[in-house]
Amino acid sequence: MINYEAILLTIITASTPLLLAAIGELVVERSGVLNLGLEGMMVMGAVAGFAMAQVTGSAWLGVLMAMFAGVAMSLLFAFLTQTLVTNQVATGLSITLLGLGLSGLIGSGFVGMPGVKLESVSIPVLSDLPYVSTLVFGQDPLVYISIILVIGVSYMLKRTRMGLIIRAVGQNHNSAHALGYSVIKVRYACIAFGGMTSGLAGAYLSLVYTPQWIENMTAGRGWIALALVVFSTWLPGRLAAGAYLFGGVWILGLYAQGMGVPIPSQLLSSLPYVATIIALILISTNRRLSVINTPASLGQGFVPDR
């Protein structure tokens, strides 16, 4: 018999890093900035989190350090693209290349070490209920944080003044500037938020998903998260649905391998990447969905007139 609960649990574990990285990038893109450095910020978060947890023995300090590393990388990106108005695509790529190299360098001393795992929460009584027990009440804390972030971002963008300002800056930075909002400051803040959640996503990989350090352990998840943001048409609810769908595809491949399905393992491993391309095609062919929420200033630099 197949243990459905176990499968659902692993799907959530596989989806959470995607969701964490993507929800930050969603806010960044809503403010009109395209940060392709996700993969680099994420892998820096993974190595920083692992190293900190290894040295101090505390997984929580690791999580904090990962967030710090993600923010630090994102501020490099912000300085170049916002203060120096460099090309956002190329700058994002440089952050990714730099992050992959730097993380390898920092992590070279940690390869093969057993890691520190972030413990799952355990709520008395609730965690012992049948069926829903571990699925709903026994996850690791970052899963709950990711869900809170999705709800929070959704509320913030739709219902608060701050959300309105972010969207205005992303739609038309000249108008937002004319209204007296500091386009560059808003974007700095959004980029830093994106760096923080990417760092969290990295910490999830090295402290929860596989509690050890493996070089390039993000394996393209940063890029898939970027695709998810497009797929979600910049809406947090859809983003969460998409992330769990992708986690499902990821796990499907693993389970099929485990059950001895006579398909080459490489074909199964390529499923998430193939699925990403298909998802992008599906969403892009639907003009109505894809155009309506696209931030109009996405990827354009802003220089205030003086």
Partner: protein, 358 residues
């Protein structure tokens, strides 16, 4: 205090040429600080990195071998980025070219003629161009973001290579190692003398020169520059954006594929799971460092090749991780983008008083 940009009345010629040098200087300084922070002798490490590789014949040859794929891919990307088209999946197109070109030496071993080698190169180009055609088609037909699709294909085609060399194309007498049969002499690129430098270097430089001519002396080059700098002006001039996407992807993909088969038939001599130390990604840096100009790319390719060999030297002599090379390369792209701002802008520090007067 606040840092602000002031637009220059016209782009600075001086900064255009000195920005890469400034970026290299910054990379060396920060790199030296990094070595010092890691408890290594900074000057010795920098010497090993950038000078030692060009002090003896053996390592100069290695530099030229490594520069070959970087130049080939870099010139294609230089044209592509110039047109504001973003192919970042050259690493995958390189692999696709290597696979397609290797069909002849692996499956048609008995076809031994000079023509076979030529066909391998052509098929390598076709392989790379075919893979690059996917993001081009999706971009033109459905408006799918080409950055993400070209990158996803890198992972997919790597897994395909992995499957082939562990499965159908594995050498039956290879002691179960994940490798194809070694290519025979008819299917290897000729080398110069007894060294490692092969015909690929000549091909790369000829192609760079041709592309320089195309970019500066032909209508096509003009079209690339106009569409890249001002897409609306390009549209009014009757240049098709869609055709430009096709042109750029087929060109850069084909050249990356050619680099792939040249690497396999010139340097490695067989297929194996790893055929490239990220040449396809490093070539992005090469393109930017070379000012998106094919001649500049030749020099940039040589410099980045030096960093690969220097990285190996540092690894051997100082026992440092080979990841330092990747860090250097990432820093270099970062600094070059930073310095390029100075081409169009002046930097000015505003004092607190001036800000309040604004």
């Amino acid at each position: 205090m606040q840092l602000i940009l002031e637009k220059r009345p016209q782009a600075s010629r001086l900064m255009y040429f000195s920005s890469p040098l400034l970026a290299i200087a910054l990379t060396v300084i920060v790199g030296g600080l990094m070595f010092a922070a890691m408890g290594q002798p900074p000057l010795r490490a920098l010497y090993l990195y950038f000078i030692d590789p060009i002090t003896n014949l053996w390592s100069i040859e290695e530099v030229l071998v490594k520069a070959t794929p970087l130049i080939l891919i870099g010139v294609g990307l230089a044209v592509t980025f110039r047109a504001n088209v973003w192919n970042i999946g050259a690493e995958g197109q390189l692999t696709a070219g290597a696979l397609m070109g290797s069909i002849i030496p692996i499956l048609f071993t008995s076809w031994q003629s000079p023509l076979a080698l030529f066909c391998m190169l052509v098929m390598g180009m076709i392989g790379g161009a075919l893979l690059a055609a996917i993001p081009a088609l999706l971009k033109v037909r459905f408006g799918v973001n080409e950055i993400l699709t070209s990158l996803m294909l890198v992972y997919i085609v790597h897994l395909l290579l992995d499957w082939l060399v562990r499965g159908p194309w594995k050498d039956p007498f290879g002691y179960n190692f994940p490798k194809s049969i070694g290519f025979d002499d008819w299917h290897l690129l000729p080398t110069f003398g007894d060294g490692r430098v092969h015909l690929g270097l000549v091909i790369a430089i000829i192609i760079a020169l041709i592309l320089y001519w195309v970019m500066t002396r032909t209508i096509k080059g003009f079209e690339v520059r106009v569409i890249g700098a001002a897409p609306r002006a390009g549209a009014f001039a009757g240049f098709s954006q869609a055709k430009m996407v096709w042109f750029c992807f087929l060109l850069s993909g084909g050249l990356a594929g050619l680099a792939g088969i040249i690497e396999v038939a010139g340097t490695i001599g067989q297929l194996q799971p790893n055929i490239s130390p990220s040449y396809g990604f490093t070539a992005i840096i090469v393109a930017f460092l070379g000012r998106l100009n094919p001649i500049g790319v030749i020099f940039a390719g040589l410099l980045l090749a030096v960093s690969y060999i220097g990285g190996e030297g540092v690894q051997i002599e100082l026992g440092m991780s080979d990841k330092t090379t990747q860090v250097f390369q990432g820093m270099l792209l970062f600094f070059i983008l930073m310095c390029d701002t100075l081409i169009h802008y002046r930097l000015r520090l505003l004092k607190a008083m001036e800000i309040s007067n604004d």
